[in-house]
Symmetry: C2
């Protein structure tokens, strides 16, 4: 079982966008530079986040990304499902129906007990991810920060933030 | 996030082996036939289960697989980890260390808050899988069985069971 690298990049991008001043946006290239990752790859994940209503994409030459809702309203589950898709990790192929002299159809009306147990575990996983908001993550980072982490982000914003609403 | 098809095949194979009479074994080919899956693929997973001490492989012409411990002692987590490996689904690449003007090393002594949150969710997932034993799954199947499921397994064992200890 493996989550793609996109999950780490997407969660961190959202936490950085949460620190942006109002009206500011960051381009995919700037976010990719901040995290040292491939722009084209990150762009795919930003589009997934945009499709899920987590970030808002402003188009045009001074466009970029900003959060589409407050960090209190974004959970880790929202981001993971946006990037990885909604399907559960365990995908039952109904192998119980295969093989010699199969049972009658009525035995397969209830979901397979194995599948049900695996899906209960997935629900526990999702519940744990749903319990963590981006606002909480940011608060945890802040509580460990002597100011250097915030200063670094601010310096990066000074160089890279765009303001789509303002005159060029 | 996706688990391989091997997890479904491995869990079901273990439940079938749990129903085998003492001293009996099933070949990989017989198990593959019962579930309508590829023998070579299933063999790989049986070897993983064997490596994890969940099944015991008896070699020789009348060899095959049987459980290495009682179904009460085998959890879904044991099987999933045997087939999928021990690594967590989320793999932090430490992207917080990348980018322009990186922070000093001391900021990275504690694990990243994002990574910590993702690993807490993984622990919830594993805890839910650890809470389910193969014995419980079998009891659930039995409680839904009017006898047909057990009869089908028995008929299959009659045709396919090997007894490595007995004379040919
Ligand atoms: S048939 Fe798919 S998990 Fe049982
Ligand atoms: S650096 Fe990997 S999750 Fe934060």
């Amino acid at each position: 079982m493996k989550l793609g690298d996109g999950v780490e990049q997407a969660i961190h991008s959202v936490t950085l966008l949460a620190a942006l001043p109002a009206e500011g946006v960051l381009s995919a290239a700037a976010l990719a530079e901040f995290y040292g990752v491939s722009t084209s790859y990150l762009l795919k994940h930003l589009q997934a986040l945009s499709g899920a209503g987590i970030v808002h994409a402003v188009s045009g030459p001074s466009g970029g990304y900003r959060l589409a809702k407050t960090p209190e309203k974004i959970t880790l589950l929202d981001i993971v499902l946006a990037v990885e898709g909604p399907e559960p990790a365990f995908r039952c192929k109904e192998i119980r129906r295969n093989g010699p002299k199969p049972l009658a159809k009525r035995y397969f009306k209830a979901p397979c007990q194995v599948n049900a147990a695996m899906l209960r575990a997935e629900q526990a996983y999702r519940q744990a991810l749903r319990a963590v908001t981006v606002a909480q993550l940011i608060a945890e980072v802040k509580s460990d920060d002597d100011g250097s982490i915030a200063r670094r982000s601010c310096a990066f914003f000074d160089q890279n933030m765009r303001q789509p609403g303002s005159k060029p």
